[in-house]
């Protein structure tokens, strides 16, 4: 608690209030009692302390969650369970790619095996580069047993990767903790503030300047008054000896007025804003529409101070895998020998194919075209060959649960799994593999193929092949890969089929499906043996082995015969298309940033309707060079992230922002953040990043708002995020409903708050001209103490928490309603000046109308002359009703029971306190602190007509403009077509 107090005093605002408190202790200056500052200050401190304590608690809980995760580090692979020290890893957490990658230990270290004793004796020394964020590069040297071995990325296991198909491995820690590449990539945690926060700080500074100006004006007034009038008035009002010159008196008055007028820089502003934001955060936490029952995860606000910014988002940067997609692949369509199979589920409500003839079929697999199964049953050889290829050409590992007799496929990539599962359902069941053989159950018959060679997949080749020998001795090469690559390697006789198939492929791609072309080749034994020799040589070559291998593969993968193509659906998460559509309607631009390859990314673009065939010109930037970018009416823009490395920033942002859709592929985590930073810097727009994996952390941290999808890929993104929920589609609810409301409420709150404080405080300023600039307050000190924390706090808090202009359904349905937030229309400097002007005007009326009504006159019994106390109570009551309650009533558009209770309750409390303070009892006990004892009961119950009339009059006069404003607003709005439907 003392620490907390100390921290609080470090905040500039609180230090300022402490300074005021000290000023008040100087009797020459003190225009208010000490309690007028200390009571609100204590209140603010208490609330802030409670809030900080809650936040701390919450953070501890999260920290524990992190600490429970096993600590990982960047490792140098020493040995593994697989032959040759091979090790398979998945790096989805790092770069979002889901296919397996191979790492291989140095031969010398892989010999160590699992021998703990020898491993413990390992005393190699690694000299390597300093920690950096490059995921795909590592250079170092291992010195061991007087030898030096060069190390590269192929021997590294980075933090965040997951072992696959590998029993165990041993490694040597190279980097740990914050030095790991993953952490280096996660960007710096920045303290996030909303644009309203920044605006508020500026405005508070301005108000402060205004306060000083008022102080100076009144101080000068005081000096002049003292010289012209006060000097002669001394027969009734002695100088204190301390104050003996008018200039010095002016100086003291300046400070006195700073104390009195300090309520224009509202002490409770920041704390009220925090309370409102906390309330909004709870509403988000409580929203059932963002609760995902399958995982029992409600939405969670992790940073409670950003809510209103959710209503101002202009750019969304989204990860692909796991965020937009479910990362589940399904075999959806295929083209075999120039004929397409498979229909869209949505169009034809046909019965799915019945796979009951196949006891090993996967139940979850569904296919909607019966002709394919017919062809298989009829024994169409090409169709058989097609599925045989699918069952043979892959790197899937199979587990058999004998008890259930069920096959479990362990796959490197979900695509592959989908294909093998499809083959399985159509009767070509991959059953087992050994390093030399693959066993497949073909239409109920077990067939074992000799596996002669596997020609691996990599990103350059974009294809993989297997060479197998059938039981009857025939040698065959089966190849699957990207259509563009494969079509170049077909036998010329395939031309006709190729044309037909590429038409189909285009059609598939248009539907957003991931396509692969399949081909085979019959090999003669001699040809194979000849080639195998080349392969062996390549395998044993010492330098540039990869190039040699690639050349060898190239040699055999040509003149192939086309079989057909597959189309796999990368299943989108539920509701993604609709969400993206409504967010686009709300004028929010969605950029997809993914580590995946271009084709995959574009397929997703198509499938979620971000890209359509009608969009003209695909624009792809892949180069490193500065290129001339033509400004045509391009509608979308796909680029590879390394384009960012070139000096293209400005052009990039220019062009990208002109496009409807932007997709960025091959982006490393840091590049994702870089894109976000670019848009932040050049567009001054509010950005939101959403992702689920560790590779999205840096982007989540650098965007104004980071959202973590609590999905499959662990908790790291969630822990770095400001908000988290389970499904992409909840984004719509979060932005269009909660964000919009938060922004709307916060803006209304701020407008009212500034208005209230100005109208309240400036009355002193006007009064200054009539009391010799003596820093005499208009209201009594208790009112000044209590007005912001008792009388005027709850109704505005209720409005800030519960107000709604349109309901949830309309917010969702009319996405256009989101635009005022993006354009920053509801609270900006102009709006602020309007509020201030309204406040100044109200304070003017508040002072001068009672002045006119009280001037030189008497009350209805002749005794109530214009004495200070009556004057103060009249203005005070009017201010409460007019500037606090009537204004809040006009501002509140959604009157819940709580609003009504708070407003009526505040009025009741006002009267209760007024009566209590004017009662005989309290005066008798503290005659010096409550000197206002009077028959106020009579005064309030039978109000003096003049003050009563003044009240009604001021109410009308000062609030002419809100109805006026609203009616004008109404006419303007009704002329907008976009809003016509709601109004």
């Amino acid at each position: 608690m003392p620490v907390n107090l100390f921290e609080q005093f470090q905040r500039a605002a609180n230090a300022y209030f402490l300074f005021l408190l000290i000023l008040q202790l100087i009797p020459e200056i003190s225009s208010l009692s000490w309690f007028t500052t200390i009571v609100p200050l204590m209140m603010v401190f208490t609330i802030t302390a409670v809030k900080d304590a809650t936040d701390d608690c919450f953070r501890h809980k999260s920290d524990n969650q992190v600490n429970n995760r096993q600590a990982e580090a960047d490792l140098l692979l020493l040995s593994s369970s697989e032959p040759h020290g091979l090790c398979y890893i998945e790096t989805a957490e790092l770069d979002g790619e889901t296919n397996l990658k191979v790492r291989q230990a140095l031969p010398v270290t892989s010999e160590l095996g699992a021998d703990i004793r020898r491993l413990a004796e390992f005393d190699g020394v690694v000299v390597c580069e300093p920690p950096n964020n490059k995921l795909d590069k590592f250079t170092g040297v291992l010195f061991w047993k007087d030898n030096r071995y060069s190390l590269n990325n192929e021997k590294m296991l980075l933090r965040g990767c997951v072992l696959r198909n590998t029993g165990w491995c041993f490694g040597m820690v190279i980097f740990a903790g914050p030095d790991t590449k993953l952490m280096q990539n996660s960007g710096r945690t920045k303290f996030k503030r909303t644009s309203i926060d920044r605006l508020m700080n500026t405005l508070v500074l301005w108000i402060f300047g205004f306060l000083v100006c008022m102080g100076i004006i009144l101080a000068i007034g005081n000096s002049i008054w003292e010289q012209q009038v006060g000097a002669h008035f001394r027969i009734y009002l002695y100088w204190n000896e301390v104050v003996n010159s008018s200039v010095f008196s002016g100086f003291l008055t300046f400070w006195s007025y700073i104390i009195i007028l300090n309520s224009v820089v509202p002490i409770s502003l920041y704390v009220s804003v925090e309370v409102i934001r906390l309330g909004h955060s709870y509403f988000i936490n409580w929203d059932r529409k963002m609760y995902y029952p399958k995982k029992d995860t409600p939405a969670e606000v992790r940073t409670t101070t950003l809510n209103e910014e959710l209503g101002q988002i202009e750019y969304i940067f989204s990860d692909k895998t796991g965020t937009i997609t479910q990362n589940i692949m399904t075999f959806n369509k295929c083209s075999i020998n120039g004929k397409t199979y498979g229909k869209s589920v949505l169009i034809n409500k046909t019965v799915p194919v019945d796979f009951s003839f196949n006891p090993l079929a996967d139940r979850k697999f569904q296919f909607y075209d019966h002709s394919l199964i017919e062809s298989i049953k009829l024994g169409d050889s090409v169709v058989h060959e097609f599925f045989r290829l699918l069952s043979l050409c892959h790197t899937v590992i199979v587990w058999v649960f004998f008890l259930v007799g069920e096959l479990i496929y362990q796959v490197q990539s979900p695509d592959e799994g989908a294909l093998v599962t499809a083959a399985r359902n159509f009767g070509f069941i991959f059953k087992s593999r050994t390093p030399e053989t693959i066993t497949v159950e073909e239409m109920g018959k077990l067939v074992t193929y000799q596996l002669l060679a596997i020609l691996d997949f990599n990103n350059i080749r974009k294809r993989m092949s297997v060479i197998v020998q059938t039981p009857d001795g025939q040698i065959k090469l089966y190849c699957k890969g990207a259509d563009t690559i494969l079509f170049e390697r077909l036998h010329p006789s395939n031309e006709e089929l190729m044309d037909l198939t590429s038409d189909h492929l285009e059609e598939f791609a248009g539907e957003g499906l991931r396509t692969l072309a399949l081909a085979y080749k019959n090999l003669t034994e001699e040809h194979f043996k000849e080639w195998f020799k080349i392969l062996q040589e390549a395998n044993t070559s010492l330098d540039s082995r990869n190039e040699h291998l690639a050349a060898a593969y190239e040699e055999i993968e040509k003149d192939m015969m086309l079989l057909g193509a597959t189309a796999i659906e990368d299943k989108l998460q539920e509701g993604v298309t609709e969400t993206i559509a409504s967010l686009s309607l709300a004028n929010i631009k969605i950029w997809v940033l993914t580590g995946d390859k271009q084709e995959t990314a574009m397929n997703i673009g198509y499938s979620c309707h971000m890209l359509t065939d009608t969009m003209n010109e695909i624009f792809i930037v892949a180069g490193h060079t500065v290129m001339k970018i033509q400004y045509s009416d391009r509608e979308y823009f796909v680029f590879q992230a390394h384009a960012l490395e070139a000096d293209l920033e400005n052009e990039f942002v220019e062009v990208a922002c002109m496009c409807k859709t932007v997709i960025c592929c091959r982006a490393t985590p840091l590049q994702k953040a870089q894109v976000v930073e670019l848009v932040k810097k050049h567009r001054k727009a509010v950005t939101l990043a959403i992702g689920d994996g560790a590779n999205d952390i840096s982007m989540i941290k650098s965007a104004h708002i980071g959202i973590g999808i609590s999905g499959e890929e662990g908790m790291q993104a969630v822990l770095a995020s400001d908000y988290s929920f389970a499904q992409f589609r909840y984004l719509k609810q979060l932005l269009l409903v909660h964000g919009r409301w938060s922004y709307f409420r916060m803006c209304k709150f701020l407008c009212y708050f500034f208005y209230k404080n100005f109208s309240f405080t400036l009355v002193h300023f006007w009064f200054g001209f009539f009391c010799g600039f003596s820093a005499q307050t208009v209201y009594d000190q208790w009112f000044i103490t209590l007005f912001n924390i008792v009388y005027a706090s709850l109704p505005v808090l209720a409005m800030g928490l519960f107000d709604q202009d349109v309901n949830e359904q309309n917010s969702m349905d009319y996405a256009k309603l989101y635009e005022p937030g993006q354009l920053n229309l509801l609270f900006n400097k102009r709006k602020f000046f309007i509020c201030i002007a309204h406040g100044v005007y109200t304070s003017f009326a508040l002072f001068f109308i009672p002045y006119g009504a009280f001037y030189n006159t008497a009350g209805e019994d002749g005794k109530h002359i214009a004495d200070y106390q009556s004057f103060a109570v009249t203005i005070l009551s009017i201010i409460c009703f007019v500037s606090f309650y009537l204004q809040i009533a006009l501002d509140t558009s959604y009157w819940t029971a709580i609003n009504r209770f708070f407003i009526l309750g505040s009025i009741a409390v006002y009267f209760a306190i007024l009566f209590a303070m004017h009662s005989d009892g309290i005066f008798v006990i503290f005659p010096n602190h409550f000197p206002f004892e009077s028959d106020m009961k009579k005064k309030i119950v039978v109000p003096p007509p003049s003050s009563h009339a003044a009240l009604v009059f001021i109410s009308a006069a000062t609030h002419l403009n809100p109805p006026l404003e609203s009616i004008l607003h109404f006419w303007i709005m009704s002329n907008f077509r976009c809003c016509q439907r709601i109004l």
């Binding site: 200070y868 003044a950 009059f953």
Partner: protein, 366 residues
Amino acid sequence: MAVNYNAKEEADGHPSGVGVPGGAGKSRKPDNTAFKQQRLPAWQPILTAGTVLPAFFIIGLIFIPIGIGIFVTSNNIREYEIDYTGTDSSSPCNKCLNVSWNSTPPCTCTINFTLDQPFETNVFMYYGLSNFYQNHRRYVKSRDDSQLNGDNNSLLHPSKECEPYSMSENKPIAPCGAIANSMFNDTLELFRIDNETRTPITLNKKGIAWWTDKNVKFRNPSGNTNNLTALFQGTTKPVNWPKPVYMLDSETDNNGFINEDFIVWMRTAALPTFRKLYRLIERKNNLQPTLQAGKYSLDITYNYPVHSFDGRKRMILSTISWMGGKNPFLGIAYITVGSICFFLGVVLLVIHHKYGNRNTSADIPN
């Protein structure tokens, strides 16, 4: 196998919201309450042309008659004011312009005036001061409320706030402070001149202070004697006063701190131009007006210097209506605002008729 699969499908297929089946913990599904889901029933008033226009007209139609009423009432109030400061060299009081507090013998002057119309009801006699800053911060706080409330301790040890008017000649001042020290001490007497004979008019000096002030807020020091002189033993008079506080009046219930002239003065004015109730002239019988039309003279014992700070002193005779003293301001203000409202209503109605019809559905579907 089949059984396994079915079970799985069911769990997936029915997002029942029970959370993880068989999970030990409670479901984290938020409660479905109107509060948490922000569906609290609410009244949603919407300002449309249909509601705002009538409001303008109604305000206009209510305010104009009220304004007229107030204005007429205010005009019917009889009020007569005399500035007796004597700045004008022709004024009878000019000779007293530069008096000081304790000049002996006191300067007196007489001003004759004529009431053109009779004052029918009770008449209130006020003294008015201008350019007198009773609302100056240092002035306002220069008093000790507990001393005035009869606290014996405060009587002898006045509050620091009273400085520099708390001690005089090493004795505590009672009542202390600048307000008390500067108490208005002119004496005003009113005569009706009827055929050269001056008939004094009875001026009631009781009942001019607020009841609570007289009975609660201001109390004489307590003691086992009714002798005020003894009760104020050990204190001294305010510097400017000619006589101590226990000699303000001959009647015990109007002497000391509960002297009504004193109480009235101690209730500080809000503005530098103010009037304070001095005396009451009660209507004697129903046949005659309180003050008939005719000639009057005002005798002033001029003790209170205001000339040095350019102040003004006035004597005001006024009747009172249901809305208080004469004040045309409110009436005019009401009429003005009512007219503006009405006028704006008309303008807006015209605009609405001309342009507003474009939008046919002014009602908002909820």
